[in-house]
């Protein structure tokens, strides 16, 4: 009985010391993590590369395929939701990995928020949108910096003047906010209307552009 008790205590101690070796320091893990991203990308195993980027709106997630920028995720959307959407709709091989296209987009975002850039010059991958929605976003991309348009105007521009509601849906699902400036589309009365990143973010972008004029 006593011997058994001792044995149990010893087993407990052994189990504890086996579990105790679980610490892994953050810096060496980050290095291993970084090497993995490099090797995976070099082997062509990354279908969507993404990075986080700090902006005045908060941390934005930007994702790119080999074809170009595919997604800009605003802080209000939640990173998990954005990554899960990419996994489902593009490929589950989504990895945080540096890419020239992402570095480029990050620079341009910085310049935009510094009011040193009015147009984005990045390759876009439009695969997350199609049909009429795509046409609405293409029309939206033509609205100049600092200007605004109404939902009806972009619907008309996209070829269906009466599809105002559908145009609203297209804009609410814009996979590339900021870069494709859906914040420049307002209700006909001049009200803000909704925004994927929340109404305050929309107001903030419009103010930024108004101040630069």
């Amino acid at each position: 009985m006593n011997a058994n008790g001792n044995q149990d205590a010893e087993l407990d101690r052994l189990e504890r010391s086996l579990r105790a070796s679980e610490e892994l320091d953050a810096a060496s893990w980050e290095l291993v993590r970084h090497n993995l991203a490099d090797r995976a990308d070099a082997a062509g195993l990354v279908d969507v590369a993404f990075e986080r980027h700090d902006t005045p709106l908060g941390t934005v997630l930007i994702g790119a395929t080999n074809e170009g920028l595919v997604r800009v995720g605003l802080p209000a959307e939640g990173e998990d939701a954005v990554l899960t959407e990419l996994a489902k709709r593009v490929s589950a091989r989504v990895l945080r990995a540096p890419r020239p296209a992402l570095t480029d987009a990050r620079h341009q975002l910085d310049e935009y928020f510094d009011r040193r850039r009015r147009e984005f010059e990045v390759e876009l991958d439009w695969r997350l949108t199609r049909g009429f929605r795509h046409a609405v976003l293409v029309a939206t991309a033509r609205i100049p910096y600092g200007a605004t348009a109404s939902y009806r105007e972009v619907a008309t521009e996209a070829g269906s003047p009466n599809a105002v509601r559908a145009a609203g849906t297209a804009l609410a699902n814009n996979p590339l906010p900021i870069v494709v400036p859906c914040h420049r589309v307002l209700r006909s009365g001049g009200e803000l209307g909704s925004y994927r990143g929340g109404a305050p973010a929309k107001a903030q972008l419009l103010e930024l552009e108004a101040a630069a004029r």
Binding site: E15, L18, S21, L24, D25, V32, L86, R93
Partner: protein, 176 residues
């Protein structure tokens, strides 16, 4: 690919890395020593990425990853046996490569266990796998997995006792 297959598509691989990466790296270190741990880990993750679009059961990802890591560890051991390095003793107990990915003293002793016990103990305590998951990785039954963990622990304890009473740091030669 059907719609339903899309519906329970696996999570973004980034999440897999965050969730299981550190555990897999420690597992590799325990199996092949700290020095070769990263190699084993990188090979495991690249292989997982290659096969990731065929994953259908998101719940089985963990044991799938550890099966790959276990295979990679064996590959590394074999390569080492084929091209032995002069200073490097392929005998598992000699795996006192420093580098603190896992605390080496106890894991050097685990590495000296018989193969099945070694693998089971490592999966249980370092990777925190359930007995069912260990059974999946080792392609055995759940009771067998449980027994291997238990026997491994018992042996470690017995050896610790023997070392304490003989005052020796070496692994005692003991019957299985």
């Amino acid at each position: 690919m059907t719609l339903s297959a899309k519906a329970d598509a696996p999570p973004p691989f980034e999440r897999v890395i965050e969730l299981h990466g550190p555990g897999l790296l420690r597992f590799c270190a325990a199996r092949v020593g700290s020095e070769r741990a990263e190699d084993c880990f990188q090979e495991t993750m690249l292989s997982a990425l290659r096969g990731y679009d065929r994953v259908r059961d998101a719940g089985a990802i963990r044991s799938w990853l550890y099966s790959i890591a276990a295979r990679k560890a064996i590959d590394i051991h074999r390569a080492r046996a084929r091209f032995p390095q002069p200073v490097d003793d392929p005998e598992p107990l000699a795996a006192t490569h420093d580098a603190p990915v896992v605390e080496d003293e106890i894991w050097a002793r685990v590495r000296a266990l018989p193969e099945k016990q070694r693998q089971a103990v490592t999966l249980r305590y370092l990777a925190d796998l359930s007995h069912r998951e260990i059974a999946e990785v080792m392609q055995t039954s759940e009771p067998a997995a449980r027994r291997n963990v238990f026997e491994g622990l018992r042996r470690l304890r017995r050896e610790a006792g023997a070392r304490a009473s003989h005052g020796s740091g070496e692994s005692p030669v003991q019957g299985a």
